[in-house]
Amino acid sequence: MGENTNAKIAAHLDEMALKIMMVEPGDLSVVGELVVLVEDLQNLPGIDAYPALQRMGQAMRVVIGQIVMAELPDSANNYERLGQGIGFMQESCRRHGEDDEAAETAFFALLKEIGFVAADGAEEVTDPSPPAAPAPAVQQQTTPPPAKEKIAPSPSGPPQGLKIMPSPAVEAMEFLQDLELLTGFVSETLEHLESIEVNVLGLEENPEDQETINKIFRPFHTIKGVAGFLNLKNIQKMAHSTENLLDDVRNGIHPMDDQVIDVVLNVGDFLKTMVENLKLVLKDGPEQYKNYDITDYVAWVEAVQSGQKPGAATNPQEAVSTGAEVVANVAKPASPIPSASPSLNGPVAPATKPTASPAKMAVGDSIKVDVEKLDGLVNAVGELVIMQAMVRSNPKIAVLSDPKLIKDFAQLGRITSELQKTAMSMRMVPIRQTFQKMIRLVRDLSKKTGKEVNLVMEGEETEIDRNMVDSIYDPLVHMMRNSVDHGVQTPSEREKLGKPRSGTVNLRAYQKGGNMVIEIEDDGQGLNTEKIRRKAIERGLISENDKSSGYELNNLIFLPGFSTADTITDVSGRGVGMDVVKKAVEKLRGKVEAISEPGKGSLFVIRLPLTMAIIDGIIVRVGGERYIIPTTAIQESLKPRRENYNTVQGKGETLLVRDKVLPVLRLYQLFQVEPTYTDPCEAIVVVVEYEGRQRAIMVDELLGKQEVVIKNLGGLSDIPGVAGGTILGDGRVGLILDLAGIVQSHSSHGTMEM
């Protein structure tokens, strides 16, 4: 007994502590050694004097045994907990087994976290070990285990939430057994739901189109099937009852009417909410899971199917709920039940008309490719093009005049540029999907505002860079809202003006001169140019006797803080200003303009580059560095003449170009590089324009015009004056100038203000 025993036990615990540090998930041999050590601990002479330690050792042996048997997860987290547990055992030992209740309690709390269940630390380890995949423990480590791990110790109630039913945790989480399958299900279902929505809206036009009904029926069927397989009971039930309803419609038992459309749209939204929640579960773990109450929805679907026509009208608030509101919507008990809207036949019937029925789109064979892989391919091809140029311009090769070699190089060049074109085109997708989302938007908006709006879409096949699709969505929604909300008048107003009751919003896309053009045109009231003018004067943007044209005045609405409801139209409730649209479009290196005729309507034109990946630029040299100036901003370049160059005291330098006095901006000063020329009359200036402000940028030399692939600068971002980088012909990186930043920083330097 006494010190000697204590020291021996302490030494043994230290050994265990060491061993646990060495354990890595999947490395069961080390775990085995640890078991031996723990067992030895129980047999150490004098251990009887440490009952707490004995209890802990016993429990630890059981837990480790379970891990070895793959009954508990073989994860780094669990080993960390075991390590901490050994720490508590050491603590107990240091206290000579006295006053060590705290350590023991903490120890068992840790084991509990791992999944150990025991009354008093004895043999009864009866954790109905979670259905942790029976896969060999070695492989478990590779699958992200947090999900599995957290299920184990949760006898606690399921997540609570509004309108979310309690449900046994294990049952609810069964679908987590195959994460890969679930991931696939989530993304596929979201796609299905999108296509359902599009097709349902198409049905509004063509209620009798069997093919379209089938196209709605089938995805519900698929969703039902896979959800059943994954044991996602709610989703399965929801999809199942909707499928039943659609089956009746398909077989002519139930007419395809507004009720059905409303039900299917709402169910679609609701399913989307549920699936989005699953997405969250995949991302943040099972505690995010919400067990939505579907009874109201199922009852609604069944009511419609059985042909009941409850007198209540669809709450218009409900009908117009957009994606973002769906969650709140779901939270409201019994929201959709008072369904079936006779009001639909009222004056608010929307007439949303997609010109090209999406149902009839011919789709070629295609495969899905991970975006990352695609980007990787584009990068590699870009690199190939550069390498080829480098090889070709290698001085030792360049001097060779072998005709075969020259011919082969030409052929190689053709192949690589073809490859590059193909790779780039793989990133292009038709804008159709984005456009189709507008159908729903216009439908909902027109219902809400009580207007009749025809949406006519053209050019949905126009292709746009995949990376731009998401960014263009918001500004587009904004402008569509504006057109419906503030452009198109109410039916009665329109009748008074001698216009057809229903207004028309045209949404067009087409390619023109290397740009993608999107037009939104309405035949509404147009912009009130006179009001804009007055507001501009009020704000000091123009003077009282300014002779700006109507066009120039109209485009003032894109200035920040300009377009509030009371300034332009009398319709209240205008949201954010159009400057948001302009900013978003400019971020995509595009332009937006407004053309309007009072009383006749407005036309908004968005011009975007076809791709964000490539930019047309002039390569300039400043000292040893090369920069790329986007061609779109360049007006001209010239060698300044002495008589046109002036300094303005305290304000900087100016250059007279075509009778305009332009501030001179020395790029080498801004970027702090050593230039070749410091005298503007020896250097070259490039005249650029950004947001109506012109600058003469002074550089050493123009090296040529080139299409360059834009790359981000890794972890460096938001560098003033730099929009990104590109890889030049010699393999080095050149920086692409960001004129917004340059013009701004030049102004803020106080050198010159226009």
Binding site: Q84, L713, G714, L716, G721, V733
Partner: protein
Amino acid sequence: MEGAALAVEGNAGQGLGGKYLTFSLGSEEYGIVITKVREIIGIMEITAVPHTPDFIKGVINLRGRVIPIIELRMRFNMEVKDYDDRTCIIVVDVPGPNGTVQVGMLVDSVSEVINIAPQDIEPPPDFGVSTDAENIIIGMGKIKGKLKILLDVDQVIGRTLASTLSAM
């Protein structure tokens, strides 16, 4: 034994032991966890990027990808020395604002990959004042009587990139 107990108490189960890539800056030897290292490349021409701190030397083209280069000597306020044929860029993976980014660290020379046992790792020295060093050093590895300063790459680079933005 002492060391093991320390490791358990101080960094319970973090598992500091393992493989480290060591490199030198002047007379000092540093180590970083090998799993952070993507590759090691020789020095190449670097394009300077304006409006960034001095220790960001610029960017390079790493097989079609543009990555920033940090001169570690400058990062640690050490005297700058000319590059020679032993100068290397260690490309590491660090968490950026939008996922993992690759960043190159410019060092005098790369030494070797060594296995450091947990008991050979001492906690970072306490310099008495709160310094940058405290946060970026995870420990001191003792190998054959020599000390290797073990760096937390995420901290070294992460802070660097963060300070880049705040410097704007």
